[in-house]
Symmetry: D3
Subunit: 176 residues, 6 copies
């Protein structure tokens, strides 16, 4: 029954999704029946910090999960635009997603916002954030350094290639 | 490969999803590789026209597809808030969904907006709109007429019961 | 100490405040230490449904309380603009007001929203809503029927006169 | 010198511009050095009340003025999106237009808003509003009654034909 | 009578209120009959620059005034969300507050905006801005330096303690 | 006929317009029948980056074109507020302007956005961007260096003087 399953919400921007994200997703699926992956700042694209659209990020995540043999029927992937009201954010999230029991986060502000809204928080084990970081991946892309490919699941690299993502990111950062 | 699959977008409000919607979804899946179901007016809930949250509607649709034996890995379900700019709406949709080839719609305005944006439109065969209508279902719920249950997939009725949907709709319409 | 006092929130549009509202305020002050009066739809003015600005409504309420001998130091009067997201509204309210224990409301939707957000609700005894109704008062003003003056506290009538409120309401409803 | 010229602001929605509007514009140009025509509700299009985009309305007005031999260098045509704050509207208008001395309006609310903002108002002589009315023109278009063509300047009818305006309006009003 | 009293508007963010603010308030109350304290950027909280909600800031101010023996019935405290249109801001403010004669400000932009909107400006005598600065107070809080307590009225420190304000500010600034 | 004329769109912020902009406009008018100059970020004014209102910028451009002997009847000048959705921006632009064939831009992001939206792009020859830069002009104004006058068309300098633009910019950048 829908209301019997235990769900957790894992929010991120996924610009782009990397292997650290995938590790969190695997871990989370050991702790909940269904996982809700929230693609935040869904309205933004074509900027340095947010080059990919929410739709593209949704495809990257789904293809990576499929490739990893993760059961898609246990995962919701939901784009959510910003509301710019921190204190209201978790309640606003609830509009867009199935009911859930846990927030899944390490960031202290996000942990706090889930707790202030009355949710328990599952804190995933840390991954190597020096290495796996979307900001770093975007920087490598701009510099023309192909080692970013090792940092993301193969399916993500493939989607980025199909949509011409590296070229777009470079144009977004260009000057006249 | 992601870009080889043919996708179509089927937008609706699904307040709630009924058997007519399900018929369209089945038909669409015979015409595309992957179907993107857009839950429109995602930001609204707890009103007479839009009693259910986007998250609840997402659950209804998913449970109904599962129950009908439809392959969830061929379907994207994506909530999209209103933009209130008709002429821009299709382009705004594209932000939130994977790239697609077809719009799927019968409503003349929606058909027109897809065409103005350069998309082909797949027009599904009509279903009995006198009978299968979300507006009518909400009216029956408010009147306490249980025949609305025959108009929606069983899974939808079950989710509505679990969330106390009929009671909510009645309170939303109440006066002091 | 701030956190020891029991507070309740009473939301309304107060277009304009009438004697029914005053009755609720008196009753509420017997049940809480401090009362937070929320002036809703604060952003709107100069329309038929919302002729007065939030600032003007704040003055009306304050002058009426003063006139009635109510201790202003027990009352917060807070204008809050609409958010248009019913399910989030109570949490959004919390941004603008001191922390509180009770919602104060009779309207079933408002009662429900307070309860969904985890608040107890104090339901004030009913007043004569046929007689005391802001909609009715505005209709009388438009018709040039001065009996509206009997329906509002004298201080409210005085403020409306000072700001030329009846004339404004008539012009707002005028046609070319 | 820029600041020596006397300017007036004439706001409207122009859905579509008709001969009554043209009459007001001619009259206004006898009373000011430069006329600022504000195209209101600029963000909306493809609806029954607002079928045409701001850009299309701008073209209609400009072509009609040109056809009428009016000196375009004395006229500004400026699209302005809604702000939904009546009391602020005139000040918001000032952001989008050159500085001006007069508001030009007959509608009592608009007259009042200009006056509250400290502007003098030029009230143009009335035209036959039974006959020249954008609402009536749109109704005729929907009904397939070609007499709407007599109510608009020839250039406006030509632009509407070029953009397929009547067909669009009918599709906008269509049902599934 | 309402319209006879002379009012001034003093806008600030009060993140948090400090002794310099209190000094300005005392000074202002010697120059006007009623003081309107506007809590700006009311929509924001839980960020480094704006850790406290508008409701919390309202409590801080009110408790500090009470503690200082200031007559609350001469003061309005009004939260106002941002409009992000500088040129319109003063007119937008007017929606939320009682009518007023003076702006109260030292910041050149704010002074200019009040003057452009046709208001006289009362410029309060300067206080020691090196010492009394909300930015500095927040920095001390983050650094764990308790000397911030000397910079705010005792009632403000007490409210911050009751709401766990220092802990919140630190979590808001934390990294994963 | 309206639809026969070839139009191009040239977007900029024009804070303020300088001789480089004028050079682009002259060049563009050799390549299109009608030029649409879009004044972007139209909603913003009274900030360091955007000191002038859209209305003032419209006047500057028009006066400069007039002074240069450019035929105003071949030019549309259209203020457009930001939408903050890069991927939708060109389609949103289309709401506000007449239909067009070309985007006119050198900035790689803008070029890309026009192309993604299906438009051809005309790339104007470069001008001396070290010398002709609005950012530089604003910096000179703040520093009290009058050489900014050589960088803008004489009509622009005149309008800036008439509106007290330099003084405003300095006050906007002032501190308490």
């Amino acid at each position: 029954m829908y209301s019997d399953r235990v769900r957790g919400v894992y929010p991120g921007r996924f610009q782009p999704m990397h292997k650290g994200h995938l590790q969190v997703i695997r871990w989370a699926l050991q702790n909940v029946d269904e996982l809700i992956i929230v693609i935040g700042t869904a309205q933004e694209s074509h900027t340095i910090a947010n080059p990919f659209t929410a739709g593209e990020r949704m495809v990257m995540i789904r293809e990576a999960l499929r490739e990893s043999g993760i059961d898609l029927s246990r995962v919701y992937i939901v784009p959510v635009p910003d509301i710019l009201l921190n204190a209201v954010w978790v309640h606003y999230l609830r509009l867009y997603v199935p009911s859930f029991r846990y927030g899944i986060a390490r960031n202290p502000l996000v942990v706090r916002l889930f707790k202030e809204a009355g949710y328990e928080v599952l804190v995933p084990p840390p991954y190597d954030r020096e290495r796996y970081s979307s900001t770093r991946i975007r920087r490598l892309m701009i510099q023309g350094d192909d080692t970013w490919r090792e940092l993301v699941p193969p399916a993500v690299a493939r989607v980025i290639d199909e949509i011409g993502g590296v070229e777009r990111l470079r144009e977004v950062t260009g000057r006249d």
